[in-house]
């Protein structure tokens, strides 16, 4: 198959038009279509591969800054502080006038927020073309469908008759959604449902295979790759609570990765792979923290700000039985993500950069998960002249730890066709 160069060029230009807005890269453990674990083996005498995959969320949970499992709405703070939100209002606001010096005893004006996050689908399609000299170029486009529902705000303010608690309950927490509607009509605290494409990516990879004349170690595969992601995905909706971008939220990224795979006895493989992502910073209107006690779901202030992203690292350590029964392989992958702290620079002197940068969602996050996979490669079973040469890959993701991340147990399948 020949790629239409003109169409590819226009596609790139189209995607670049969206490079204007960014927020933090969101910590959720869905596959990127270019993930090394979705990469199919290269068949002999084929030059083109198409891979489609889909994964379904089973159970989503949040991991807070202390690495504890929590509801997804509590991944940044255990409670949301509405009193601190009131402190962020302009001094002329009547509600701030009433509540401005009421101190936060740890529960006064606080809400425990819960919600149900559904990952309905995380799908994608990749096309790879193998060039001479073991070079592969590929294009990837993911699709996502997610939903946040049943968002509940449970008031923790003590039900006593102290002046402070009474004022807070009467003016703020008893009719919280109504108060929020008056304070910020654009902010939707009830949940959302989103479906759309993610960031389009283009990669170039080199993969070398070196036979080893040794009794145990039979082969060493080396790989390295370079790619760019283009911001075609849905971005964060600043007016929705815990809105998740489908991709890098309007920012272009530059990927670099490399790995080594060792083959023992021809049927056991293990290896290490890493990928680094540099996201280009950019500027947009976004909700920011302007009071030091504010919690991340209740930011009311929108300003134009520049974001410099932290460095993102992904590591894979894997081990598998390779084609131990016909084309069947089974393996296990430990995957670790780490994203450094993001930095905001505000285009205003009204608020403090220092305070804005203390928002939890800008802080470092990590994800740990184990992926169990079964792979059947029909190369062994089909005739070499067969036009359709499929590869089926099923997996189960078991996240087990993280920081400031939504981790979803997922199952999925990927099918690759080789031409």
């Amino acid at each position: 198959m020949v790629i239409n160069k003109n169409k590819f060029f226009y596609l790139v230009i189209f995607c670049l038009l969206f490079v204007e807005k960014t927020e933090a890269i969101f910590a959720i453990n869905v596959f990127n279509p270019w993930d090394i674990n979705l990469r199919p083996p290269i068949w002999c005498d084929t030059s083109f591969q198409i891979t489609g995959y889909d994964e379904f969320g089973l159970k989503a949970r949040g991991y807070n800054p202390d690495n504890d499992k929590v509801n997804v709405m509590q991944l940044w703070q255990p409670t949301q502080d509405a009193l601190a939100m009131i402190q962020s209002l302009p001094a002329t606001n009547p509600l701030r006038n009433i509540l401005q010096n009421i101190q936060d005893d740890g529960v006064r004006g606080h809400f425990t927020v819960t919600g149900k996050f559904d990952l309905n689908a995380s799908a994608g399609i990749s096309a790879r073309y193998h060039l001479p000299y073991n070079i592969t170029i590929s294009a990837h486009l993911p699709f996502y469908a997610m939903k946040l529902k049943n968002v509940l705000f449970q008031d923790l303010t003590l039900d006593d008759d102290s002046t402070e608690n009474l004022l807070v309950r009467e003016n703020l927490t008893d009719n919280f959604l109504q108060v929020m509607e008056e304070l910020d009509p654009s902010l939707d605290l009830t949940g959302w449902k989103r479906t759309g494409v993610g960031d389009f990516a283009v990669f170039a990879a080199w993969q070398g295979s070196y036979c080893q004349a040794k009794p145990i170690l039979k082969n060493v595969d080396l790989t390295t790759r370079l790619g760019v992601t283009l911001p075609s995905g849905l971005r964060t909706n600043e007016d929705q609570i815990l809105s998740i971008p489908f991709g890098y939220n309007g920012s272009a990224g530059l990927w670099f990765g490399a790995g080594i795979t060792l083959n023992w006895f021809d049927y056991i493989r293990g290896g290490l792979d890493f990928e680094f992502l540099h996201l280009f910073g950019n500027s947009r209107f976004q909700r920011i923290k302007i009071q030091r006690d504010q919690t991340d779901l209740l930011f009311l202030t929108k300003v134009y700000a520049h974001t410099d992203y932290g460095f993102t690292q992904q590591y894979n350590l894997y081990f598998e039985g390779y084609r131990f029964f016909h084309g069947l392989s089974a393996g296990m992958i430990y995957q670790f993500w780490r994203h450094g702290e993001d930095k905001l620079a505000l285009f205003t002197n009204l608020y403090s950069d220092d305070i804005a940068n203390t928002a939890e969602k800008l802080q470092e996050w990590t994800m740990h998960q184990v992926i169990f996979k079964l792979n059947y490669d029909f190369e062994c079973d089909l005739d070499a002249c067969s036009k359709l040469k499929p590869n089926i890959f099923v997996f189960y993701k078991l996240p087990f730890n993280g920081t400031r991340a939504i981790l979803v147990n997922t199952v999925g399948v990927a099918i690759t066709l080789n031409f």
Binding site: Q87, Q100, I102
Partner: protein, 961 residues
Amino acid sequence: MILNVVLLALLLIPHMATANTESNRDDQNVQSPETQEPEQKGLYTVGVSLFTSFAAYTGAAVPGSKEYSIVQHFLTPQGDRVGGITPPRVFVNYIPDQPNPLYDKKILHLNYGANKLAAVAADMPNVICLFDNMLSTSHQSIITTPCLNDALGNEAQEIVCLETAITGTSDSSLHVYTIAAVAAHEGFFGDEQSGFSLIKHHSIKKEELTKDTITIGKSSAKIELNLDTLDAVNGIEFGNKAIPIGVHEISSAININNGLESIAPNVVDMCWHPNIERLYIALHIRTKSDATSQQGGRALLVARIHNDRLLLDPIASDELCYGNDKIFGAVGPNQEVSLHKIQPFITSTGIRYLLVLGGHGAPEETKQSLYALPLAHRGYDKNRDEVMQDQLHGTLAARSAIPHVIYGRDKTLTAHLLTTPATSINDLYSSSDAVICIGNNTQLPNDITDIYTTGDAVFVGVAQPGNGQQPGIFHSQAILDGLGRITAWTCWQRFGIEVGVAKFSINPTRYNTSFLYSDFPLLNLTQWKKPLKRKKNEQIPPPDDLLEGLIETVFPQENGGLQGLADFSYTTPGLNSPENPVSLLIAMGQKKIALIQTSAKNKNGMINNHRNMFLNTIATKETLNRNQAAENPKTLVFSDDILGTLGSITCATIGTDGIQSWLFVGGARGVAVLCNTTGNGWSTEHGVISLFENNIEAMTFKKCGNFRFIQKLICDNNNLYVITNKTVERIPLSPTSIMKPELTSQTIVKTSTEMLFDGSVSGPLVILASSNGLLHNPPGTDIRSENKTLSTTQFKLIKLPGSSGCVYKLFFVTRTRHEHDFAFGSQLFASTGSLSENKTDIFRLYVDNAFEHGIHEETVQVLNDHIYKNKPTPFLSFNNFRSNFVTDGSHYFSSRSQQAAEKPFFNLIPQEIIKKVFVSDHLCYQMPLQGHKAKNIVKIVQNSATGNWIAAGDFGIRTNE
């Protein structure tokens, strides 16, 4: 808690040994002298004593104390390190291993200045021994003067008083002098030949010394000190001659037109005013029996040092002394002026005063009269030499003098100076002027024994009981007017101690008081009581029967602890029954209040301050009615349905119409009053004690009006004022209106958009702390008689420079210590800022006497506390939010409740930080709270009975005892 440091036990410690008594601190109560071991008595007696801010020195009253002739007590936060500092052999005049002239001697005088201790031993009463190297045990060095001579050059009989003077020079170097009041040869101080010797401290570099001179320890190897006994009249080196006091000169600094008969023998006090660089001398004088109305004497002199000469000047010219209402002098026949002590004083605004104990009258009549006299500083527009030679510099300032604000080259505030001296008799304050009367003309128990000043506060020690009061330490605070001058003083308030006090000092950082008993050589130290150490969730009864235990029992933390605390002294209208004056502490919690007697009159007519035995004397209405209450209950706990409807009870006040008195309490959901079925409270004549003694079945709390979110209740002028978060209501006090307040209450102030956080009413004036700023009622209005509702838009907004707007807390310092008297002229501290900005600024304001002057544009004035020229700054600026701020003029307390994850804190801001305006947490002393349990600090109040400061919150209370 009071710590006893028993000196005598420590006398057994070897030479210069020190002992740390910290381990004894935690669980001690007052240990009376009688309970001391018998052998501790008599082994050592304290004669003279001297307190500095960091150490105390005591001199032996009789010979035989060996190396403990002088004992040094270091008053450190870690404990009191004490030791004798007079070993048998020391360096004397830089010659090693010489017999110590102070060893085993009785000590007559001690003086500390320029980091040197001076002493006079009884067997060499005209020789000064100066400790040059006091801290080194192995190289202690003493420098002695020759025998000091009197004004005729003969050997003086004795030294009567010592003082150290440090003078600056135009080239910025310092000269140190010791000044000794010396008695005449074979005579007394006060005789014609007696006078003042001047000893100059010469620092000599080592290389200038001869080979025979042996230097002492490493630290002083380069500099040696030489004492030059000057001819004080002519400034001749080693002339050793005193300047005569001039008692019989026709007209001298002391004598007015030859009207002076005599000076009381050997009675003199001296003080060097470092900010004026003048020496002040206080005497007892008597005028001649035939003195005319223009003849008399001055008992207060001012002296200056110029070219190594001591020059005596009159404190005010002769003409200013006419009339016998002056403190410092008198004219006419057989008049006495008795000045006992003098002390320098400088206000926080930088204005110089001289504190004078005594006045016109016989010695025994004047020992409770303490005055603050303003001094003229002539340094506004003159160079230093001119100022130092100016005879009017350091004399009494005119009462109308306007302070000049002096900024340094870096445009920072240097001082406020009263530059205008008194030149006419109308320029001087008389002894009846409230401006100079420390203690606001209220009575102390007995004679003042010691004076200590810090900040704007004056503390005095009293050794003997009297006037129905126990002795102790008492406190008065200066009230400054809009220009920073003292305009009044608060009445005397007991300051923690309730025993006879001879000498004392207050730790400038931690607020602990170190004091010497008046009748026993024992040094005590008060400190902040530490929290009880309990394991988590451990439920054990409070270990003591003090106020802490009571509060913890009645208001457990699981029920919210204390939500409010209010103190009412026995002078409060409604409690000031002549028969049964009672001080009350009203503790408030969820649906419950407790009336705690903190003082009451005993059978002997003495005010008895209650410090313990609270737990066993709790009564409730039910136990009283069933006669099951303890005998003489001190605490009355109310908890009924009406109180339950008020929510958390946060404020209380006591009101009276002169016949009946009522207790009002308020919370988030309303106000209630304690009354019987006819609306009567307790009889004002018999006092609140009747509630504790009688069957109070008929007394119940009754809901009063229909108010919400009560910020403050205040009674004044037969009215109850209810300040809510949006209105100010006025309810006349009478049984009728108590029964039907809805008929008589009137909304006198209503806010437009702002919220009210605090406020107060006094006479015609209402001051409100609102989200828009600090407000008071419009000029020309009188809140007592206002019949229509005023809107806050009509109010006068007081501009607080640099403030963000919101004022959320007010703290009044009034003359009577009753908040409802603030319109008589008071100090107001307004807290501004907000949690959102996470900062608090404190502004200091003066409230003019609205009773005399009515409400006008300048009724409330902001003090000029700017430390930078043309850059307005508040009095204090905190780098985070403080919910409470109070002061007694010497120290400043602030607190904050828990804020999100930050624990609550309660800290003490030392006086020296105040001068820097910007207060950082790490510079403050953090008071101990109840560890991890504390969440809220609702109030900081001073217990008017004991004088202890109390921090109250959900954890109970913490006190300084």
